[in-house]
Amino acid sequence: MSRPPLLVALALRLVRIASLLVPTRDRHAWRREWEAEIVHRQVTLDRERRSSLAEQAVIGRRALGSLADAAWLRRQFTRDSDLVHDVRHALRYFRSRPGYFAFAAAILAIGIGGTTAAFSLMDKLVLRALPYPEPARLVSLWQRNSATGDQREEVAPGNFADWRARATTFEVIAAAEPWSVDYINGHRPEPLFATRVTERFFDLLGVRPLHGRLFVDDDHRPDAPAVAIISHAFWQRLGGDPAVVSRPVVLDAAPVTVIGVLPKDAELNLFDNRGERDVFLPKVLIERERQNRDSNYWAAIGRLRPGVTRGQAQEELDRISAQLAVEQPRTNASTTAGVGPLETHLMRTVRPALSVMIGAVVLVLLIACANVANLTLVRGAERQREFALRGALGASRARLVRQLLTENAVVALAGTALAIGVAWAALRAMIRFAPIQERRLDTITLDWSMLAIAIGVGAVTAIVFGLAPALQFSHRRPLSSGHDRADIGTRRSRVFRDALVVTEVAIAAVLAVVVGLLLRSFTELLETHPGFRPERAAVVQVFAWDRHNTPEKLVAFHDTILERLRRLPGVREAGSVSAMPFIDANINIESPFAIDGRAPAPRGQEPTTHLTVATPGYFSVMNIPVIAGRGLTADDHQRATPVAVITRTLASKYWPAGDAVGSRISFRFSGRVRNLEIVGVVGEVRHDALELPPRDELFMPYAQVPFGSISFVFESDADPKRLMQPAMATVWDVDWQQTIYDSGTVEQLIAASVAPRRFALVLSGVFGSLALLLAAMGIYAVMTVSTRQRTREIGVRLALGASSGEIARLVLARGLVLGAIGLAAGLAGALITTPLLQRHLFAVTPGDPLTLVAVALIVVVMTMIACYVPARRAMRVDPLMALREG
């Protein structure tokens, strides 16, 4: 043929392209066939002089069909390819063993999903840097008190001012003062948690405002106009309109201009109490505060200069503290400064839970991997015969390896898909039980890179161990095990598998001991008597100074509400106290005192006590017993002799002879020196947390010392929750603009105080249960296989007259031996590792015998349950069948 016409040339080109689709084996012939047809047709047309554009178009159209032809051949080929073949083989194999498939996929899902959820949480809370630039240079600063042994106190304003003026290792030091403002929401006053921050606080962090601007130095001048920066959440409550900026809001009954809105992720939980900070105000440091080194309540942060280490900053602060100790001996003799990473400070509430969890997660993943390894080894052992046969029929080792890889990949894929669901559910659960003060938790989502890592670990385990049978296969002559069913798996591989199960049980036992100890600590904690009986008590807290600014007004406000509360239907008794146990925002006043008739203690070493104001009703509502002398009564009115009662701990510390009643003490309170007679000793109360010792406390009668911080407490004759609304309405009836700061039943307050522990417990509980479940699955798998392996032996025994009970015992005994070895190793491991838990424990020793016994029982019962199905199966073995098959 001479040079072909364009359309025919295109047709030939098309065929050549289409030929690329054709499997290599057939490609050459295929192309020749098509080309021959096209060329033949053209040659014929030429010869018959019928070549026309129309005829050439027919050729072109037919050449298009070559694509369909080639594609068809490719499909045929692919369907027969090894990969597709392997996948189909694997699916067929699993369809006949749905139990095994579900089992393996479930183990992978639990291991991968649990790990991913845990790491997603940790990543957000611990591992990820703060959402501020150069977080390594951010530090928090605090005071240490060598006299009280308190390693971490907030900072006194005067000390802060000196640190800021003298330190050179910091670019900026700033402080935050906890504050609150009243905001009228509709027609009900509402407290907003606020923070007053010193100069360049936000610059130090590197926060950029979402809208508007941050504070500048001029905003901190005493005569500057009132401005505020609001949180993202509060901005949303105000409507989320950028125009909020430069508009005034009314806070504490005065207009304040909003100048900026913080971005959503700029949360900064510097203080210990619940609740988020919604309003930030510029702090104006006044002279009185500069001199205040007694009360420490500021949170200080700093940004180190580039290149400065925390150690250098610490050295400098030590030097400054030494200077201050000389300059201000009364207040600073025993005060030093501490510096540490800001992140550590921010994470203090969740970190204990997380460190327990990190350990638990790693162990659970280990167990899951051991389990998967075991399962695939077991399955491989079972299939020795199949592989031997296929080898004999000519399958190469590579071919068998490829098939196993495909099977394991199918399991890994299914497990992974499930794992995403597991991870999601686990994460939701963990967030639900997290201590409430961590708003950052809301933004946690699954961490896909963590998921990828976990999947990698799981899949590699599945695949590597899944290859074992193919590798073992090469060590044997192909048909040697062809008819020997009892010989499934070599002795060596059996020992290895048993070792894996023992390891699993051991790890699970360690985790179970940890969970047990935490659980015991938690229950012990809940059973700790706080010193009062909380069942039916509830509280409504107000700060009344602002709106009732003379002692007379305060007393009138206080007495009216108390009287009306007493008359509320369902209220048995009501009282008030200035510092309510388990409430966050308390005015806690700790002050030195002197005992009349004794030599004054040296400066800085005076005895101290908490000073509290209460009414007689407080003691009866809270069921605080009078131990000596008398309690406060209605007779301790304004004109009566000034009296006080003290707690038993305080009495025994300073009046060990029991002569506290009748002695007189003096101290400063509310700006006046008071001299009071101690008329009684009452039971001590745990004030801030159940795990902390009760505090020394001195109570003065409200009538003699009117005070603005008031927590009204009342006892109801039924569920106190019902009375919360009426009680709050009572306060508002007396003054509709009075803000209620905190309210709730006393039981709720205590529950909130144990929330971080509950979080740790839930987390470790989840992982401990997973570990036990996985270990049980491991025992089950091994027992199932070993029973199957011994079918013949069991058959023989049955034929020789063994009862089915004896057979069941045989299976059970072996399972229990494995379980017992694992348990022993686990308990030994627990004794070594649990001392690390010491600081998470309360009233329980790391080697708590009750916990160890309970864990041992659980492991034994779990082993028996795991052996139950294999034992049943063994009992049902038909001796005839077993012998014939064997």
Partner: protein, 103 residues
């Protein structure tokens, strides 16, 4: 394996039975598109209802073109054709059209 007989397969069988042996000739004879006919030919060959051979190189050289592949029915294929003719009686009406196209 005996596959269900489609009308397109019946047409191809019929064409083969009437002595059309090359791909494009079968296309002419059946009027079906090439994307349909070729896979049918492949399948017939797979099912051993037809076999293919390459024509002699000498003949092709004489005509200055590459050798073509031709398909013929096997005995099984012939049987299958009979079934097809019974199932699709109108097959016998088709040759007229094919011949007309060839003319």
């Amino acid at each position: 394996m005996v596959r269900a007989l489609s009308s397109a397969t019946a047409l191809v069988l019929d064409a083969l039975g009437r002595g059309f042996t090359h791909g494009f000739d079968i296309l002419d004879a059946t009027g079906l598109p090439s994307g349909t006919v070729y896979p049918i030919l492949r399948r017939l060959e797979q099912d051993r209802l037809a076999t293919s051979r390459w024509e002699s190189a000498r003949l092709a050289q004489q005509e200055q073109r590459p050798p073509r592949r031709n398909y013929v029915l096997t005995p099984a294929g012939t049987e299958r054709l009979q079934e097809a003719r019974e199932r699709f009686p109108m097959l016998s009406a088709l040759p007229a059209r094919a011949k007309a196209r060839r003319a």
